[in-house]
Amino acid sequence: MLKIDNLQVSYGNIKAIKGISLEVNEGEIVTLIGSNGAGKSTTLRAISGLLKPRGGSITFLGERIDGLEGHDVVKKGITHSPEGRRIFPRMTVEENLDLGAFLRNDKAAIAEDKERVLELFPRLRERISQKSGTMSGGEQQMLAVARALMGQPKLLIMDEPSMGLAPVLVDLIFETILKINKQGTTILLVEQNALAALSVANRGYVLESGVIKMSGNAKDLQSDPEVTKAYLGG
Amino acid sequence: TSADAATKTLVISSDLPLQGSSFDSNDSTNKAIELYLKSIKYKAGKYTVSFKKYDDATAAAGSWDAAKCAANAQAHVANKNEVAVMGTYNSGCAKIIVPVLNQDPKGPMLMVSDANTNPGLTKAWNPGEPDVYYPNGVRNYARVCTTDDNQGSAAAQFAKSIGIKKVYVLNDTQTYGQGVAQAFTTEAKKLGLTVLSSGVAGDGWDAKQSDYTALFTKIKALEPEMVYIGGIFDNNGGQLVKDKVNVLGDNTAVKMMGPDGFTGYPDLNKMPEAQGMYLTFAGLSTDLLLANDPKGAGASFVKNYKKAYGKDPVGSYPLYGVAAVQVILAAIAKSDGTRKGVNNAVFSGSGISIPAKQSVLGKELKISTLSGDTLAKDITVEVIKNNDETTLKAWTVK
C-alpha cells in the first residue's frame, strides 16, 4: 500500500533521514521504533507532505506522492496524527473534530463518527465546547487522536499517540488501534512505548540516526535481545 | 584677471524637494529654469553659467528633509565653481542652509528663493530673527515672493472692504499657513472684524485627515460670513474646499478666501466648489500674465515653455523660480565672478532690479539691499470664476 524507497530528508544542511526504505501492506499495523532524534517523526512528516524529501520516492497505492502538497496527500487517504498534538488551541473540541472531517461531505456518516469517538473518550464529550487550548495535556492528546479518527483514512499515521496519557487511557488507545485496524484501516505507528507498540503491530522497523537498523516481524523484534536492551528498558 | 574669469563657467544651482507631493511643481521649476537659461544662451554679462540641480528631499521622508538640507548646504559650499543658489522651496530648509552659506569662507554665498514666505528669514519676526540666520553679520539671502504677513494683511483689508464682519480662520498647521493665517487674524482684529476662531492663527486643519465636514459643521454653527483658509492647496486643500461648500453652502452665501498657496492650481480652479472663492496673489499669476500682457516677457516665456514641454508649468512657482534666477544672473553680470562679489551685487550699491520689460513676473522686480525682500508689496486679489482665476483688483498693503 505504502512503499518508501531510499528516502532522504534534510533540515538545512543536517541530514535527518539518510536513505531508508520501508513498506506498509494493506491491513497491517506497522510500527517504527527508535530512540530520541532517530528520525521517526521526520519520516512521517515526509510521507504526509509536510517535508519535501531530498531524494528517494514515496508511493501510495501505486502513485508517487512525494512532492505533493500536504493537503493533496490527505486527499489520497492518508491521515497523520502529528507529534505534539497540534490541535487548534483557540477552537472548541467540537470544531477540532469537525476539522478532522474537513474533506468529507457525508454529513450523516460524520455525525455517526463523531458520536463514536465521543463514546470512546467521554471526557471529550464533557468538554465539547471548551476551547481546546485550555485543556490538560492528556485531554489534548485524546482530542488529537479523536480528530485523526474523524478522517476515515485508508492509512492512519500516528506519532506517539500515548504520550502523556494515564495508564488506563494508554490501554484504551492500543485497543482502539487494534479495533480500527480490524475494521480495515492500515496503520503506521510510532511509539516510545515500544513494548506496547510491538505487541499490537504485525511488523516493525527500528530506526537509528536516520537509517533502518533492523526490521521484521513484531514478535521477533520483541524477543530480540538487542532491541530489548536498547528500547524496552530490559 | 577679469578675462580669466570670463572664460570660467560659473555654476548656479537650484535646491528644491524633488520627491513626494511637491515633485510636479518643483520639477516644473527646474525645467523652466533650464529653458530660460537656454533662451539666454547661458550668458550672464561676460560670464558663462551652467545649472546644477540639488534635491533636498529623500525617498524615506517623501518630502524635504532637514539632514538633506544640511548636506546640500555643505555641497553648495564645496562645489568650487558654484556662486549662487536658487531655492529653497520650504522655509525650514532655508533656515538650515542660509547660515551655512553665510559662513562660507569664500562667501558669503547668495541664495535667492522663489517660494519661502516665512517673514523671519528677512525681518524681525520671532525673537532673534533674522540675525540668527546671518552669523557673519552680512546678508546673503533674497527672495522674489512677498512674505506671509503682507498677504494676510491685504486679505483682511479686502475682507473688510466687501463688508464682512465675522470671519473664521483656518490654517494647515504648517509654517506658511500659520504665518498668513496669523497675519490675517491680527489685521482683522485691528480692523474691528469679529474673529470667531480661537488662537493667534485660527484653528488647524489636519492635512492627513480625509474629512472636514465635522469641522465645518462646527464652524457653521458660529455663522461666519467668510472663512479664511491659510495654507497650501497641497495640504488636502481640495477636500477642504469641497467640504466647506458641502456644509456651509457655496461661496456666495459664505465667502471663502485663501492665500497664494491656493493659486496656480488648475485642479482647484476647475472644481465647482471653488467657484467664487477669493484668492490673494503676490504678483501676477501665470494665467493672468498671458491675458494681461500677451507680448510681455512672462507671457512669451510661458508660451515657450508649453512649446518645449508640451504642457503648462505646474503652479505659479516655476515663474518665480525663473525670476529668482533672473536676480542671480543680474547679480553675476554685475559682479567679479566670485561668490562674495555676486552676493555684494545684491546687497550693496544700487542692488538688483529687473525692469518690467524683462521680468517674467510682469512688473519691475526690485530687491531691497537691506533685507533681501522684493520691494513689490502689491497683492492681486483674484476670484475663481468660470473655472479660472480672474483678477478682481490690485491691492497695495496699507
Partner: protein
C-alpha cells in the same frame, strides 16, 4: 519530617469548572513525592498554583514558613521553588549554558552600571556564574552541549536541560511535570537514579507528576492521587498500587501498566 512547601485547602475554578477542589498537600523536606491521577485531574493546575502562575480561588500556599500565595511568579522562583514544564519551554535560541544562566538572574547582583563599566566584581560574578552553569550541565549529564542552541538538542537532552535550568535557581523544592514523557523505557529508568541524585547530592525536595508507573513506583516515597480535582488517595507506592479506587480510575490493568 517537617514540610518545606505546603498547600492548604486549595480550590481553583475556571469559569464554572472546578479544576482543583479543596486539596491540601505538603512536600516534606528532602522528600520525593509524586502526584498522579487521570488526565485532567488537576495536577498541572496544582503546580501552577504552587509556582504562582495561577492564583487559587481559595486556600494558601506556605513555603519555608512563609505565605507565598500572593507573590508574583518570579519572586516565588527566586525564593527557591523551581519547576519544569509539561510541554518543554526552553529558550530555544539561546545556548544550553545561557539557558541555565538566565535562571541565575535572581542571585546575580550586577547592576546596569556595573555591567556597563565592567567592574571587577561584576566580571568575577560572571565567571563564577559560567562555572556554576557548566557544573550544573555536567550534573544532569549534558556537559558537552553547553554551547549548543537549546532547540537543537534532542528531546531527552531538552528535558535534562530544563532540570539543569531549574536547579540554577538554587531551589529548595523542585517540581517536575511529566519529565519522562517522550523518553523510552531505557531512558526513563536512568532518570529514576537521577532524581535520587538530585535529592541526595543537593538536598532538594522533589515533587513529581508522572504517568509512567514504573518511574513513579520506583522513585516516590509517598504518592498522592487526584481525580477530577479531588484528592482520592495518599500513601506509599505499595498502598497506592493496591488501592481499588486508584486502579479503577487510573491504573487499569492492560498493556499500558504492564511494565
Amino acid at each position: 519530617m517537617s514540610s518545606i512547601l505546603s498547600a492548604e485547602n486549595i480550590t481553583v475554578e475556571f469559569g464554572g469548572l472546578v479544576a482543583v477542589n479543596d486539596v491540601s498537600f505538603d512536600i516534606p523536606e528532602k522528600g520525593i513525592v509524586s502526584l498522579i491521577g487521570p488526565n485532567g485531574a488537576g495536577k498541572t493546575t496544582f503546580f501552577n498554583i504552587l509556582t504562582g502562575l495561577y492564583k487559587p480561588t481559595s486556600g494558601h500556599v506556605m513555603y519555608d514558613g512563609q505565605e507565598i500565595t500572593a507573590l508574583v511568579p518570579h519572586k516565588i522562583a527566586a525564593a527557591g521553588v523551581a519547576r519544569t514544564f509539561q510541554n518543554i519551554r526552553l529558550f530555544g535560541s539561546m545556548t544550553a549554558e545561557e539557558n541555565v544562566m538566565v535562571a541565575m538572574h535572581s542571585h546575580l547582583k550586577a547592576s546596569l552600571a556595573t555591567t556597563i563599566l565592567g567592574l571587577p566584581s561584576q566580571r568575577r560574578e560572571e565567571r563564577a556564574a559560567h562555572e556554576e552553569a557548566r557544573a550544573l550541565l555536567e550534573f544532569v549529564g549534558i556537559g558537552k552541549t553547553a554551547g549548543e542552541f537549546a532547540r537543537n538538542l534532542s528531546y531527552g537532552d531538552q528535558r535534562r536541560l530544563e532540570v539543569a535550568r531549574a536547579l540554577a535557581l538554587r531551589p529548595k523544592v523542585l517540581l517536575l511535570d511529566e519529565p519522562t514523557a517522550g523518553m523510552n523505557p531505557q531512558e526513563s529508568s536512568v532518570f529514576v537514579d537521577f532524581v535520587h541524585r538530585i535529592r541526595d547530592e543537593k538536598g532538594i525536595s522533589i515533587l513529581l507528576i508522572e504517568h509512567d508507573m514504573a518511574v513513579v513506583m520506583k522513585v516516590s516515597e509517598r504518592i498522592t492521587v487526584l481525580d477530577r480535582g479531588e484528592k482520592i488517595a495518599e500513601g506509599s507506592p505499595a498502598e497506592i498500587k493496591a488501592n481499588p479506587r486508584v486502579i479503577e480510575a487510573y491504573l487499569g490493568k492492560g498493556v499500558g501498566a504492564g511494565h
